[in-house]
Symmetry: C2
């Protein structure tokens, strides 16, 4: 018997429409009416708060401190770093006036009398403005390293937007560091890549491949860019975090110089690294199913939701009291080294509507309690990651209340690892390594269909025109190079593209 799922579109039918349905039905976010900007609703923002909390702890544990820098960047700051500007100039919001005035027709216009002498750019990223501060802070080798991070909103004017994945305004953290030596800055770049890998896998239960981006995919102005790439359920890659070694490119433009131990002036070596609300898009496309979202317990705003079955009669009070005690007991537990987060959903709505709302939102454990449960000392438990039994029926389990509480923390930890294992098996199973040449690549993607995964190839890392030709050729198949996995096996053959001796392995795929 076919299950009737909670969403009106399945992943198989239309993955893009399904993605929008998960966001809408899960109350994660919505279009704001402001071009390219979204409203992040409480459940979506709650996930972001969990991401912030857990990632921030790691950023601090690795020695970084949080600061805050201006949202506006004077045009002149941008002009200093040519390659960087070229990379961003196409998509920035520009403030030109500082006052509005009545237009005489009942409307408002920017006041021509209040035009800024130098227009201000709304930050698309903060290297230029933070570098200016570093130049003030760094005089001597004793001032290094400078290790800072900022949680902020940034704006990149996007023509085609998609909630969480590509929005004109998004939220992120951006780390910026300055070091005395190249070796130390490169070590920092890789350290933060590892922080991102561990965070994605351990907290978001999202398996990723950490590696270096090819030259043509580098951040504008970077010497080396590393990424974590996650495979979505449609086989596409999502770049979910990046870490850049900037060498002296930015410090030269911004004059970040220090007197070294020998008394000579030297340019600092800088890095930057960021992770954004895009991660929530990745979470959705990694863990969502045809009934909505499944949020891994570590990043779920509420891990256990208690839904009382209220009938507007005199049994209600006993049911509510039983539920309140349950929430108290659960919140006294600890899972993943933190207090458990249980919620009582006592809103005046039908219990089954509330149940399905939490299914679509993806609360890890949904517990229903009715008068019969109270009488029997039981609860009815639904694990969001195993919603149906083999017969296609909702897999609710009646369990003694004490037994459920005693096992709740372990259940959350089991859901976390099950979600990771499921995604990990899917990712690993969809990386193909036996495609020999471009014709084979075309055949593979033609055959694999719309949910094709990635192909790993060996290549000789050509540059210039030769590289450009390859990039264009891949483009005809809508493919891009993702990254050179840090843990790839050694090369053992010719370049997939040129036939020359290969120097490394690289992943190819379609991407968001």
């Amino acid at each position: 018997m076919a299950v009737k799922h909670a969403l009106n579109v399945t992943r198989e039918q239309d993955f893009a429409a399904w993605y929008q349905a998960v966001i809408a039905e899960g109350d994660l976010a919505e279009e704001s009416g402001v071009r390219g900007c979204m409203v992040i609703r409480p459940w979506g923002y709650g996930i972001w708060e969990r991401i912030q909390k857990l990632l921030d702890a790691q950023i601090k544990a690795t020695g970084h401190e949080n600061c805050y820098f201006p949202i506006f960047i004077p045009l002149g700051y941008f002009a200093k770093e040519a390659e960087h500007v070229d990379g961003f100039a196409k998509e920035m919001a520009v403030v030109t006036h500082h006052r509005l005035v009545a237009d005489g027709k009942g409307g408002l216009i920017p006041d021509p009398e209040a035009k800024l002498e130098e227009p201000l750019v709304v930050r698309p990223t903060s290297e230029t403005v933070i570098g200016t501060a570093f130049a003030r802070w760094v005089q001597s080798w004793r001032d290094l390293p400078v290790l800072i991070n900022q949680w902020a909103n940034v704006v990149r004017w996007e023509m085609r937007t998609r909630m969480f994945l590509r929005t004109s305004e998004f939220l992120w953290q951006e780390g910026h560091t300055a070091h005395a030596s190249e070796a130390e800055a490169r070590e920092e770049t890789l350290k933060m890549l590892e922080v991102y890998r561990a965070f994605a896998e351990d907290c978001v239960a999202m398996p990723v491949v950490a590696g270096e981006k090819p030259e043509h995919e580098r951040f504008p102005g970077a010497v080396a860019t590393y990424s974590i790439e996650a495979m979505m359920q449609d086989g596409k890659a999502l770049q979910a975090g990046t870490s850049h070694f900037l060498g002296t490119n930015f410090s030269a433009a911004q004059n970040i110089r220090f007197q070294n131990k020998e008394g000579e002036l030297e340019l600092a070596q800088t890095t930057s690294w960021g992770m954004s609300t895009r991660m929530i898009g990745g979470l959705i496309m990694t863990h969502g199913d045809d009934d909505g979202l499944r949020v891994p317990p570590r990043v779920a705003p509420h891990q256990i939701v208690i839904v009382p079955m209220l009938r507007d009669n005199d049994e209600d009070e006993a049911v509510l009291d039983y539920c309140k005690a349950l929430v108290r007991d659960l919140n006294a537990l600890s899972a993943f080294g933190e207090p458990v987060r249980a919620l009582l959903d006592a809103r005046a709505q039908k219990a089954s509507n509330k149940r399905w709302a939490w299914v679509k939102k993806g609360a890890p454990l949904i517990v229903e309690v009715g008068p019969r449960d109270v009488a029997g000392g039981n609860v009815s438990v639904l694990r969001r990651d195993r919603l149906y039994d083999q017969g296609g029926k909702l897999a609710s389990e009646i369990r003694p209340q004490g037994e459920f509480v005693g096992a709740a923390a372990a259940a959350l930890e089991d859901i976390q690892s099950s979600l990771f294992a499921e995604a990990k098996a899917r990712t690993d199973g969809n990386i193909t390594r036996d495609v020999a040449d471009f014709a084979g690549l075309k055949a593979f993607y033609d055959k694999a269909g719309k949910f094709a995964g990635w192909v790993e190839v060996q290549w000789s890392k050509p540059t210039g025109d030769a590289l450009e030709d390859i990039v264009e050729k891949l483009k005809t198949l809508k493919l891009t190079m993702r990254n050179v996995p840090n843990d790839a096996r050694p090369v053992d053959g010719p370049c997939f593209f040129t036939g020359a001796p290969a120097v490394e392995r690289i992943l190819i795929g379609r991407a968001y």
Copy 2:
């Protein structure tokens, strides 16, 4: 003997210069080079993170959920609420272009081809854009109340800026709620005012007067505005948080309507309330002294800083080990219901320099440890709120290590309440209630000099021209009406301004 203080300017000499010196010497913030915007440095941002954490918990405990709304507001949204626009139109950053282009002279200009059809305003506050979302969310009385909050940056183009107190960009939280009845919305407005009062007094140790602003000081578009007002050490008032009952002014403009229980369409009653990084300016001017800042322990990023006296010899390792054990023991303690935050400052600098750096930053307890302390099982403790003894000497105390750790949590709690008591006595002692008329007011402020406090008067609450005349008259003395204290004694005489029967008491003072 006169104490030689750590700052090179005292409060008495030049309060404004002293304020800047506390910020600079305490590494709290600095000018960014971007007009009107500051860089908040790690110690200043750490205080903000503490404020966020504690206030956010209260906002959530009162039933609100966090969301995120766009930074950009289309011009048309603003035009809808006339009074609101009048209040803000003078000071908004306007985005008119979405791309830069080379100017042919090596520079960049906004691309004339990329002019926005409708300019976007960088939010000065979010009533208009959040109201648009409320209009989508609210259909029936069942959808009410809507109780949300946002942590965000906002921009108000300020001509004269002062760090933390008045900056073009600042950080804040803004709460926005919609209710079915006026009574409920008014209750919400006062509830959040009380959350602010309790937060300011209990967490920031800043005594405040909570009350209603007079009509002419209302938020643009509000029916009633309430504030908490704090007295700075120079006697001036700082409005440190506001809560607004908006009635149906915004819901009418934004069409936030709901079907009530009787099936009729009704306008929702809305509120908004905010507290910002300005609070850090208030903290500085409440608790700072001539040696720098004194941070109340509840909002101190580090409550206890351990400074090892290292001599670059073979005793250093024992000193460091002793300090590390001390930090471990302290961090295992609990104060104010949270884990204690102790830090080991092992930087390679002279211990006395580090000690004075932490004095200027205002760490509540500064502990120095040298080889002699290790040998004797002691620590040398400095309480930042009692820096000098009666003879004007630094009041360091040698204490057995175990005794210090055992009393550390209580010491932090004592510092918190001492700072509050000190500020409370100063505030209460500088509110004068026996000024009879305007001539008396002038005489009072002439005599009280530059650090005069506030005067509480009874008034008949005139409106229109009569009110305007009073406001202008006060202006000649640089005075403004602050608020009508919620807990003022009943009136018992004529109006200070008009001689008519008084209806309430109101505070008058100079203000930031």
